[in-house]
């Protein structure tokens, strides 16, 4: 009883968080032409920062969380400037440098905080939806995530910076001809996506045990979603996130959390076999 509702509800909840996270990943992928492997560490970093700011610096939660998110954005910006931009001429380089950043963040957190998971508490208590007990925090998460998706969509479609980002994602050469500076766009993209990763991090920290290596799993989810939905494809990303979230929750429910780790792998491999350009992607 309630099995289907449970899977649907939590599947959709997860979908929304994956959507926010993978939108940022997809945006960088589109603009820089390469995956930012340090993206997952921003997610971890922001929750650790929020934790540190509230427990060690004594900041109130509603101050600590936005500060942590902004700091994640700043770190992302620095990563983009120091590590991605100088390496852009050789694709392999970006790969190695962002991976290296991810490992550095992971190691530093390991040394400073140890392997013990971090717990954040933002909005305690539970409510009931469709007869299923849902922690209030989930509602906060879903609300914020939807807000962030809408604002990103408006940003991309309506503002001139957003249009510039889309132009660069389409073609570096064309956008340069139109007088857009791709490197400036890259900077903005890293800042914005860092904030998006940071928000997902602080929002999910109370729900998932946050460890220094926790960033890899959502990174792979985002990668699977982007492969499935097509790089830089907004609607594709939305559809893929929903599919991914539902599928993952179904597998978790019926087969257990361990097996569920294989879901992104299956999605990536199958997509590459059947439709390499993504679910809604265009052909070459």
């Amino acid at each position: 009883m309630g099995e289907l509702e449970y899977i649907l509800l939590f599947g959709l909840f997860h979908s929304v968080t994956y959507l926010v996270f993978s939108l940022g990943f997809s945006l960088v992928f589109g603009v820089a032409r390469l995956p930012n492997l340090a993206y997952g560490s921003l997610y971890v970093l922001s929750s650790y920062l929020a934790h540190a700011l509230s427990s060690y610096a004594g900041l109130e939660m509603y101050w600590a969380v936005p500060t942590a998110v902004l700091l994640a954005g700043a770190v992302s910006l620095v990563v983009g400037e120091l590590v991605v931009k100088p390496a852009l001429k050789m694709p392999v380089s970006v790969f190695i440098t962002t991976m290296a950043v991810a490992y550095i963040v992971e190691e530093v957190l390991n040394m400073l905080m140890g392997l013990r998971p971090v717990v954040l508490s933002l909005y305690p208590g539970t409510s009931s939806i469709l007869g299923i007990a849902v922690s209030n925090h989930w509602l906060l998460v879903v609300g914020v995530c939807i807000l962030m998706v809408i604002s990103l969509t408006i940003f991309l479609l309506r503002t001139s910076t957003g249009r510039a980002i889309r132009a660069v994602a389409e073609s570096w050469e064309e956008s340069m001809r139109l007088g857009i500076d791709p490197l400036r766009v890259l900077r903005v993209t890293f800042l914005v996506t860092g904030i998006y990763a940071g928000v997902t991090g602080v929002l999910l920290a109370p729900l998932k045990a946050m460890t220094p290596s926790a960033g890899w799993s959502p990174l792979f989810a985002a990668f699977a979603i982007v492969v499935l939905g097509g790089v830089g494809n907004l609607i594709g990303t939305v559809v893929a996130s929903v599919i991914y979230g539902l599928l993952e929750q179904a597998v978790v429910y019926f087969l257990g959390g361990g097996i569920a780790r294989v879901v992104p792998l299956l999605i990536v491999v199958l997509t590459l076999v059947v439709r390499p350009q993504g679910l809604l992607g265009r052909g070459e």
């Binding site: 390469l34 995956p35 492997l37 590590v83 100088p86 390496a87 050789m90 694709p91 392999v92 380089s93 790969f95 190695i96 440098t97 991976m99 290296a100 950043v101 490992y103 550095i104 190691e107 530093v108 040394m111 890899w216 799993s217 990174l219 792979f220 990668f223 492969v227 257990g256 959390g257 361990g258 097996i259 780790r261 294989v262 992104p264 792998l265 990536v268 491999v269 590459l272 076999v273 390499p276």
Partner: protein, 341 residues
């Protein structure tokens, strides 16, 4: 003709330095180096296989096969599982394990090898991490050893038991050293030959312009697949040996920080696709790491990573191979000046 092969005598002369190095390296135990440092060199030999694996494929095509952790890890686990469930000792299970690991990685990576672009690299980086979480979480941890890993008898330990107790460990250390050295020499010679053959140059061509390679007659899928298979064989051999020499098999073999980062550093520092550079760098970094243990210790990964970032940005063509070329040139001019007079 301008592009005919050089004479046999000249070719033999060219091999003198490398043969000298190989012989000298094999003589290290005769110098009285035993125990800890022999173990370090054995480990360096195994990592040399991983470095060759990475350099042969990724150093030429620039398709980062970050999955060497996955391939090495799966062959290590197959060795362990064959003992646990079938009682097969490593002496017999190494070769089947290598075969299984190659088959597994081919099935998983084939779709992404076909596709151009970065998918292959991301997949190969994240795959071992998935394996780690699979192995350490319920219900599979019951069958795959979980965090504690799978114990198994080490390679040749049944023979060692015939010796008096005091001689057992030195015997094993020496045998392992020579086994891994022999394999590394074979692998190094083969990799060098391959990397500078037409096939190696086809891999390089694909790395430089894949569309052009395809349009000018190279069967890119076939070349990439073959390159991947050779590279996987090396990585799988390294994994199986690692399992057989340093039991128990734990998820540590799968974690990229352990089995990917040192070879990757060696490849980047040594000069991508040059085989000699990364091979030399592999030994230098591993020995240097042991020497500097007190100084860096747990900062190892961070040090490696910072080194990688700086190198990739400032000197993507590598450092060690550059030095080697300069050295060779200096020696060559010196030699020629001697002979001319």
């Amino acid at each position: 003709m301008a592009f005919a092969k050089p004479s046999i005598k000249r070719r033999l002369v060219r091999y003198v330095p490398s043969i000298t190095i190989m012989v000298a390296y094999s003589c290290i135990p005769l110098l009285g180096i035993r125990g800890f440092w022999l173990d370090v060199l054995t480990r360096a030999n195994i990592f040399a296989l991983l470095t060759l694996s990475l350099d042969l494929y990724s150093g030429t095509t620039f398709y980062l096969n970050l999955g060497i952790s996955f391939i090495a890890g799966s062959s290590a686990y197959v060795v362990a599982l064959l003992y646990r469930y079938l009682g097969m000792v490593p002496e017999y299970s190494i070769i089947p394990a290598i075969a299984v690991a190659i088959a597994l990685s081919t099935v998983i990576f084939l779709p992404s090898i076909r596709v151009r672009g970065v998918y292959f690299s991301v997949l190969s980086l994240l795959l071992p991490l998935i394996m780690v979480s699979l192995i350490t979480s319920q219900p599979l941890s019951l069958y795959l050893g979980g965090e504690g890993g799978i114990p198994l008898p080490s390679l040749f330990s049944s023979y060692a038991r015939m010796l008096p107790p005091r001689e057992r460990i030195p015997f094993l250390q020496l045998t392992w050293f020579y086994l891994t050295t022999a394999l590394t020499i074979v692998a190094a010679v083969l990799s060098y030959k391959l990397a500078y053959s037409n096939f190696g140059f086809m891999l390089r061509a694909i790395g430089q312009d894949e569309e052009l390679a395809e349009a000018s007659g190279i069967d890119t899928t076939r070349v990439k697949l073959l390159g991947f298979l050779v590279s996987s064989t090396l990585a799988a051999t390294a994994g199986a040996l690692y399992a057989a020499i340093r039991p128990p098999v734990t998820v540590d073999v799968l974690i990229p920080a352990n089995t990917l980062v040192p070879p990757l550093t060696a490849v980047i520092l040594g000069g991508m696709g040059t085989i000699i550079g990364p091979l030399a760098t592999n030994y230098i970094t591993i020995v240097a790491y042991e020497l500097l243990w007190d100084a860096i210790g747990r900062w190892r990964t961070i040090a490696y990573m910072l080194l990688l970032i700086v190198l990739v940005i400032l000197k993507p063509q590598g450092v060690v191979f550059h030095i080697y070329l300069k050295l060779r040139k200096a020696i060559a001019t010196k030699l020629s000046s001697v002979t001319w007079r």
